[in-house]
Amino acid sequence: MTAKPERFDAIVVGGGHNGLVNGAYLSRAGLKTLVLERRHVVGGAAVTEELVPGFRFTTFSYALSLVRPDIVQDLDLVKHGMLVHPLVNTFHPGLDGEHILLGADAHANYHEIARHSVEDAEGAKDLSHRVARVCRALKPWMDRIPPNVLSSDPAEIAELAELRDYMTGLDSEVREMMERFVTASAGEILDEYLDHELVKGLFVSSGIIGSKVSPRDRESGLVWLFHKMGDFDGQPGAWGFHKNGNGGFTQVLARAVEAFGGTIRTNAGVERVLYDDGHARGVELEDGTRLEAEVVVSALDPRQTFMRLVDPSDLPADLVSHLEAYKFQGSAAKVNFALSGLPRFPGLDGREDIYQGFTNIGPTIPYLEEAFADCRAGRFSRRPFLDSCIQSTIDPDMSPPGKHIMSCFVMYAPYHLAQGDWDTERSNLGDTVQETLEEFFPGFGDLVLHREIVTPLDIERLIGLTEGNIFAGELFESQLFFNRPAPGWNQYRTPIEGYYQCGSGTHPGGCVSGGPGRLAALRILDDRRR
């Protein structure tokens, strides 16, 4: 006896932040919406897990900046508990006791940088202002569906013309700067504004985050810019910590989905999308259950969306070949620590506030280049770059009283190892990270109560991000905007009618913006009105 399959208006595959945003918008529009998550917890790469009693680990992503303001307003996220704490300080330690500690006061920051180079202190201000102007100019295009360059639809051609007019309407300084970000590496751009190695080291790190590039590779310019596209409290490029980590944020999104009448099911992995005659019909779960819906949205990455959930042989050949060339090449890992106390930095003993933000371990560009040389050779960096933070110094709910939780984002850890495999290299990676921290914070090892190591392979296995790429595909020009994930298929539709994509592999991309989820929902709702 087979029961009649359950029927929904829309099914969202994947309960990461974009799936949840998408599901919330669809529910809000009155669609009977189901969000399916394979794991026991929603959030995808934005989860907080209590691996040791009292210690809340931000297993994968760990900070927020690019969340689209429209989403916060439209989905009433504050009502559902959204609370992002500003980063109080940015700490950039050197190896010789040197350091840069930036805080909330621009003038104090000037003097802090001036300790190293007076001209750099001014250069950093000039750079920040220019970048803020570029970001403001690009922002409207983050929040709308990019034109389809392959389309002959007059509406699309008009959109392209509008974009061209908009860009030529910008003043030349902004246009030139935009051009630089596409054509120059983060390192080269910084060379124009900064001179001191330690200062450059602090500013350059955004150019490599999550990307298989050296700070001197051309692609790092755009990666750098991408990380400045967000804001905190209207401050361009500023980041914050969500209450209870990024998992706290996705719990807020889950509440929004449910408040709008949507349904979320966990432990419900999707085996495949059902379709016939080029129309989506529903999904089949891993346990064989079939669910029906005319709209199916994949919040998974492009590889999964097009190559696993559907049969690629049903797709146009040019799309498939594009997707085969689409670069994932995950190169980042996480090592998270439960600590019995705060690390000590020589010279700043007793200063607990230095950890109330990002601690940027990767003092200079040459340090990062050396780290990348390992990556290029197919091994993880022997002295890695670490973007670390101890959120418990701000949010007491992250750890037991007096103890701390430290998140370390690790570069580089290439998905493809030249020798050995990640299952055997996992603990070596953990040791390497710990040894690196020991170099900067003598005595660090004595504080470690527990260690969580998340390799690129773990990222892929646990949350399905292909090759562990944290952005669901590299943030390279060839994979952004018109081209994300492929030219002609950058507007959230797929060749199968009713089957859509809304993951970070679509515009505007990764970094927990929710933009793909929102824009895909707008596309779906618009298509339904036609």
Binding site: V78, A104, G234, Q235, D395
Partner: protein
């Protein structure tokens, strides 16, 4: 030379900014650290500690003290039982507000009152009219320091030091000891969050501060200045004397005076029928309620976020939001057709980082005070006026369950 509070030896070294201001003649820190937001977020995310000692403090004792309060305070002080506190106000004979404050009955017939401005002479003159001795009201401002411990982890901190808070109802008051010093603990505050205020004998101030600082260490207890407190109080819908209203006592004309009803405090008089007292201003207040003669009401105003953002982005700049709190007047106009159709104004304005939208406290004529009423707010963008949509909202803007939750030992 400014006066200092009993906590000065403790707060002075904590002030990283070196910036001080004067609060009615006392030296206080508007902000201790470079990040005002960090202090603000301590109120909403962890726990904050604020020195509010510059408040004026008065003691009323015995039956005469109670009779005096019954005569002066507009809200029924009879409802303020032993171990309870009450937000209240006092008015002139014409029903205009002189001041607001918190009254508490700490023991049978033993009352205390806080007030932002001095008011001893006012109470004394009523005392004499009533034929009571002068000591019916006594100023105790210098005898006590006051600390406000506010934020989601306030209970975790206070409960490490005293049993008095386990539980202590919202607006409850208890006598207790902290670090062997006598203190009065009340479940009150000016932030709209979970919180406590402690009255501490001046000579014990440093001991109690140290005890609180130690107990709060694991909860990111953050000393905060007056700026963060003011931001939080807008979200909590709490009015500030000198900003959202002025005392009738030193007003020149009635346009500067406001009645409690006009200040949005009609809830204080919900049970006026059952309140037999002949308090100062009663007749005027009754007439205002009966005849609906209020000139305006005080309401929450939420500026439309999209309109706010657009007003700036259209001009090519980023909308200012960061740590934006102003006490300057923002004009409000009726929408539709007519130009310059002035309706009222917002007194406090905050780009709320917590609520992710700009909010204010506004005065509007009665036909515009319904929830959802729309007005145009005048803002300045690159030195030019722009008019943006704003809507009337019920105060408070932020009202978390923990504010009034009965905390009795469970984790917050």
């Amino acid at each position: 030379m400014p006066k200092t509070t009993p906590f000065h030896s403790r707060v002075e070294p904590l002030n990283q900014t070196g910036i001080w201001k004067h609060w009615y003649g006392y030296l206080v820190a508007p902000q201790y650290q470079y990040s005002l937001n960090a202090e603000y977020y301590a109120i909403r995310n962890s726990v904050s500690l604020l020195d509010t000692s510059p408040l004026f403090k008065y003691r009323f004792a015995g039956d005469r003290g109670r009779a005096l309060l019954e005569r002066v305070l507009a809200r029924d002080v009879g409802a303020c039982r032993v171990g309870r506190a009450q937000y209240t106000c006092w008015c002139d004979e014409r029903g205009f507000v002189i001041q607001d404050g918190v009254v508490m009955q700490v023991a049978e017939g033993e009352y205390r009152l806080t007030s932002a401005e001095p008011t001893l002479r006012h109470f004394r003159s009523v005392t004499r009219q009533m034929g009571f001795p002068d000591d019916t009201v006594e100023e105790i401002s210098d005898d006590f320091g006051i600390l406000a411990l506010q934020g989601p982890h306030a209970y975790d901190v206070i409960s490490r030091l005293t049993e008095a808070a386990s539980p202590l109802k919202y607006f409850g008051v208890a006598q207790s000891t902290v670090a062997s010093c006598e203190v009065t603990v009340s479940r009150t505050g000016y932030t709209g969050d979970l919180g406590y205020e402690l009255w501490i004998r001046s000579e014990d101030a440093e001991t109690v501060w140290d005890a609180l600082a130690a107990a709060g260490k694991d909860y990111n207890l953050t000393p905060i200045g007056t700026s963060a407190m003011k931001m939080a109080r807008v979200e909590a819908g709490l009015l500030l004397l000198g900003v959202d209203f002025n005392t009738s006592r030193y007003a020149w004309v009635d346009a500067q005076r406001e009645t409690p009803i006009e200040l949005g405090w009609s809830w204080m008089f919900r049970k006026l029928d059952e309140d037999p007292r002949d308090f100062i201003g009663r007749r005027a207040i009754e007439a205002e309620i009966a005849n609906r003669t209020s000139r305006w009401n005080t309401v929450g105003l939420a500026v439309d976020w999209h309109a706010y953002e657009c007003a700036f982005t259209e001009s090519g700049i980023i909308p200012p939001m960061h740590e934006l709190y102003t006490e300057s007047t923002m004009s409000l106009y009726r929408r539709g057709g007519k130009q310059w159709d002035y309706a009222g104004y917002a007194s406090s304005f905050l780009a709320s980082t917590l609520l992710r939208r700009p909010i204010g406290i506004a005065k509007l004529p009665l036909d515009l005070t319904e929830e959802g009423s729309e007005v145009d707010a005048e803002i300045t963008v690159i030195r030019q006026p722009k008019y943006i949509l704003a809507r009337v909202e019920r105060l408070p803007f932020f009202n978390p369950p923990r504010k009034t939750a009965l905390m009795n030992g469970g984790a917050s």
